[in-house]
């Protein structure tokens, strides 16, 4: 069923009885051309572009839980393409372009909101660094504006501009950045992939990878063996575990990141704002709650929950930036497990096992990458070679030294 103003009106007069499930719940077939492991944003987008761009028909996505139970439904929904390094900037800009046309493409309301992402600076040297980043972005055709303090005040008056330690000196604004409703991204891709014949198999955990003569032949799952000519891993925080089933040892640690939502209030904050003196980012959802987060907890974790010191730290940074936050109550907080890679950048590549492909290492910034990641991973799987946009995201860059370290913090995953 196509969603449109007419279907909404028709159902309004029909007691809302005519809606159909957005995707089928098929049993796994004995074999597929391509099996994608992980029904998060990246896995679903990959299946969709494999069907749409590459014309493949016999595809399955297997997900151990329910759709959206992973990071795609846990993130703080920020999308942007304000990257500095070659290899990153064109990739994230392509992602933002795909976001801009996503809802029409999928026929699904993902609440793409280009409200602008504003990174604040608090020292002169930080302003210089932002000028450099903004210039690098503009050289790649990405929008960036360097704002002074008064321009920032005009946009976001509620900030503490005269904070004794971290006064606000200005900011780097990307107007095309913003937020996207995260669950709707999973649902929209799932529905669109399903309509193109992709089997989405939930509650089906991959427990083994079968390889014969160096070539993949399928995956063992909790619902039996599923044969596959090609297998793509897109299992976010659990990639080390699943890749180990194929004998791979990866440059990845799993870490926990927490996120928070306050009670709903009237419109207060119209942009995504990030605090430059620490690590804190905040936006206001359409329901009115402030959605915010900060640093990862900093130690390896698969627990999907963090600890109190990080919560305290995030709240302190929030108060330093917006003192009026102190009057709000936090309603909910949660954690998600992410693949922190050794240089802070992702991997989209083939592997030493023929027919096995890898999409991982997204750290805490992979939501914005969802469309381009799916698009490039689909290309890599279908053509057996990377697209120019993901050519830098190689697995062997750790051996060759061609690292992409945006933060310059070295092989220390909890610092990226």
């Amino acid at each position: 069923m196509r969603y449109s103003i007419f279907s909404v009106l028709r159902e309004a007069f029909n007691g809302q009885r005519g809606w159909r499930p957005a995707w089928r719940e098929p049993d796994p077939k004995p074999a597929y051309d391509v099996v994608i492991v992980g029904g998060g944003g990246h896995g679903l987008a990959t299946a969709y572009y494999l069907a749409k761009v590459h014309g493949l028909r016999n595809i399955a996505v297997v997900e151990r839980g329910y759709l959206g139970s992973g990071n795609v439904g846990r993130n703080t929904t920020i999308v942007r393409s304000n990257y500095l390094l070659p290899g990153n900037t064109p990739f994230y800009e392509w992602s933002l372009k795909l976001w801009e046309g996503l809802e029409q493409d999928l026929n699904y309301n993902a609440m793409v909101s280009q409200r602008g992402v504003l990174n604040l600076c608090h020292t002169d040297s930080q302003r210089d660094a932002y000028a450099r980043r903004g210039n690098a972005m503009r050289l790649c055709g990405v929008d960036a504006e360097l704002l002074d303090r008064e321009q920032v005040r005009a946009l976001v008056p509620i900030l503490d501009f005269d904070h004794a330690r971290f006064p606000i000196k200005g900011g780097l604004l990307q107007r095309r950045g913003g937020t996207v409703r995260h669950d709707a991204v999973a649902w929209g891709y799932a529905r669109a992939a399903d309509q193109r014949g992709v089997d989405i198999i939930q509650n089906c955990e991959v427990t083994g990878i079968r390889i014969e003569g160096g070539r993949i032949i399928g995956v063992e799952t909790t619902r039996g063996f599923i044969g596959a000519k090609k297998v793509g891993l897109a299992c976010a925080g659990r990639t080390s575990q699943v890749a180990a089933m194929a004998g791979l040892r990866l440059p990845i640690e799993s870490h926990v990141l927490q996120a928070f939502v306050s009670e709903g209030v009237k419109p207060l904050l119209h942009h995504v704002v990030t605090f430059g003196a620490g690590h804190f980012y905040v936006s206001q959802s359409d329901k009115g709650g402030l959605v915010f987060g900060g640093d990862i907890d900093g130690y390896n974790s698969y627990a999907q929950r963090g600890n109190l010191p990080t919560i305290e730290d995030v709240m302190e940074e929030g108060f330093a930036l917006i003192p009026s936050l102190g009057r709000l109550r936090v309603l909910r907080h949660w954690g998600g497990i992410m693949d922190m890679s050794m240089d802070g950048s992702p991997i989209i590549d083939r592997t030493p096992v023929e027919g096995l492909y890898l999409n991982c290492g997204w750290c805490y910034g992979g939501f914005k990458a969802t469309p381009a990641s799916g698009w490039c991973f689909a290309h890599t799987i279908a053509r057996d070679e990377p697209h120019p946009l993901n050519a830098a995201y190689r697995l062997d860059r750790f051996a060759t030294g061609a690292l992409i370290d945006e933060k310059g913090s070295g092989a220390q995953p909890n610092l990226h």
Binding site: L250, E253, Y299, N300, S301, M342, A399, N414
Partner: protein, 105 residues
Amino acid sequence: MRITCPHCGERGNEEFAYLGDATVRRPDDAGAARPGAPEFERWMDYVYLRDNPAGRHRELWQHVHGCRAWLVVTRDISTHAIFSVEDARAAALARPSLVARDAAS
């Protein structure tokens, strides 16, 4: 999560800084190594590759806001339960050297 420092007693984890996997070993060999050479693989292993298990993990923490000792904490990464905390120096001295380990295997 609370860590019992062998020197200072039980403290909140905010007093400690995390380094990472304590089972990886800094190679003893100095000098340049070409890809494929055993020294190169040892350095790759030490700098970049991790088992990242979803269970028991030996890891290095430093009691930065306490006695500043380096510690080896054995922790279940899936539950955050802590099994043991040892002094890192004693744990390191108890290991055979990498060259000796490779020669023996």
